[in-house]
């Protein structure tokens, strides 16, 4: 097994180096692209494992077919860790760095996140192995992972993203963020069921069909759930109309095209999935499922961008390049899953 591990290690380092070059030797602006990719991918990676964990804890049948694929992304947490380390110099652009607080100050910030990522990685690894081997303790580790997941996602949401808008803050932001993580992980499952249709069908047959329907239903439920949480946050801010607090929405809705982007998020993350999946036939259709999944990803991506852009300038080209690099890495890891994540006999 060590072979693959070294391969991965090297790959990660190379990618890190690559992105470092992109970020600091090319006109990358203030690292908005970098932050975007961090946020986008960490959500998907940690989310996927969380989905499995939930499946294990509630011993839902729907998780079984997807288990290995979803779990196999766990090594990427390390990659994110590395990318975060090279992101550190960018912290200077955060508004709070001028007047650091008890909680928001560089050292503590870096420390807690590095530790967080490492811990989460090891828990994820442990859980992944337990789960794939259907070990006795897999439910237990599932719970542990979910706790870690909640904490780390909340931390990421508040510190990496929300503190960009300091002193703006919203207590719901963390929860919203890990709902989204879960949401796009489900979408990933949706993508898998398109890609690995054949394999799944001949391994699991009927049970795969029902599992897929369940995933679709979950996606549908999350569309509603996401909408409700998004609305909740919007409503409270809109109603209170406290300048410090509306700043987030205000500066993103005063002018075009930002405004359109901002509201398009609702279309991507709620309206489209909701409408499509109200019809059973749509759910049943593989292609539709794939498209909806991608739409969800787009929605999440746009939301991240909308929040980042006014604060950190972005170089779209670099954004795409980085996105592709990490994406490819993920595909690679998933394809290689059999070489590091299989039922030990």
């Amino acid at each position: 097994m060590s072979g693959i591990q070294t391969k991965l290690a090297i790959a990660f380092l190379v990618i890190t180096g690559l992105i470092y070059v992109l970020e600091y030797f090319l006109p990358a602006g203030q690292g908005g692209a970098h932050l975007f990719n961090l946020l986008f991918w960490i959500a998907i990676i940690e989310g996927s494992i969380a989905v499995v964990a939930v499946g294990e804890v509630t011993n839902g049948k729907w998780v079984k077919p997807y288990r290995q694929e979803l779990l196999s992304v766990y090594p990427l947490i390390l990659l994110i860790g590395l990318l975060f380390v090279i992101f550190i110099p960018r912290l200077e652009y955060y508004p709070w760095t001028e007047q650091p607080g008890i909680w928001l100050n560089k050292n503590l910030f870096i420390a807690r996140h590095v530790i967080q990522l490492i811990v989460v990685f090891f828990i994820a690894r442990k859980f992944a192995r337990e789960s794939i081997n259907e070990g006795q303790k897999r439910a237990f580790w599932g719970v542990i992972y979910l706790l870690a997941f909640a904490i780390s996602m909340t931390g990421v949401a508040f510190d990496w993203l929300m503190s960009l808008e300091y002193p703006w803050f919203s207590t719901l932001f963390g929860a919203l963020f890990f709902i989204e993580a879960f949401y796009c992980a489900l979408a990933l499952a949706g993508i898998f069921s398109f890609l690995y249709k054949a394999k799944f069908l001949d391994t699991y047959g009927e049970s795969f069909e029902s599992a897929r329907m369940d995933i679709a239903t979950l996606l549908f439920a999350f569309a509603i759930f996401w909408a409700s949480q998004f609305y909740t946050q919007y409503l409270v801010i809109w109603y209170g109309n406290i300048p410090e607090e509306v700043s987030l929405i205000y500066y993103r809705t005063i002018d075009s095209p930002m405004r359109e982007f901002f509201y398009s998020v609702v279309a991507f993350n709620f309206i489209i999935p909701f409408i499509t999946f109200t019809y059973r036939r749509m759910k049943a259709n593989y292609l539709v499922f794939l498209i909806v999944s991608i739409v969800v990803w787009v929605g999440i991506a746009v939301e991240r961008l909308v929040i980042i852009v006014p604060r950190l300038s972005i170089n779209p080209l670099i954004l795409i390049v980085e996105f592709v690099i990490i994406g490819l890495m993920m595909i690679y890891v998933i394809r290689k899953r059999d070489s590091f994540l299989v039922k030990s006999t």
């Binding site: 609305y231 919007y234 409503l235 809109w238 109603y239 109309n241």
Partner: protein, 146 residues
Amino acid sequence: MTDKMTFSKRAEFISKLRELLESGVPPKKLKIVMPHPDHEVDEIVEKYVPPSKLKYFTLAGALSGFIGGFALTIGTVLDWPLITGGKPLISIPAFIVIVFEMTILLGATVSLLGFLILSRLPSFKSIISPEDYGNEFVILMDRRDE
């Protein structure tokens, strides 16, 4: 002239039912009474009788609630426009709450109504003289053929 078959075992009942239906007995000639719902039975019957129309009631109720909600909220603020707290007269984010609640309310009540209509309840005939079959599965077949 109806003849009555009672089953104490579910399996027997189901096989008999299947047999009857497959043998081409029109479903409307059968009156099947069960102590509790049963998925398998549903699946069998689905092939022969159209699905319940209840969903149209629900949809109608929900829709009217949705529209009614907007009509009520927006209508009233326009009826006598009063500014409060600098909020726009037509404060959609606030009204959504009302709209939502009304959607659910009418959706649920109309569904209930639909259910009563579709399943002929309350049926005074059987209130006055209740027909009870205990815990047995019963099939009543109408023998008369017109």
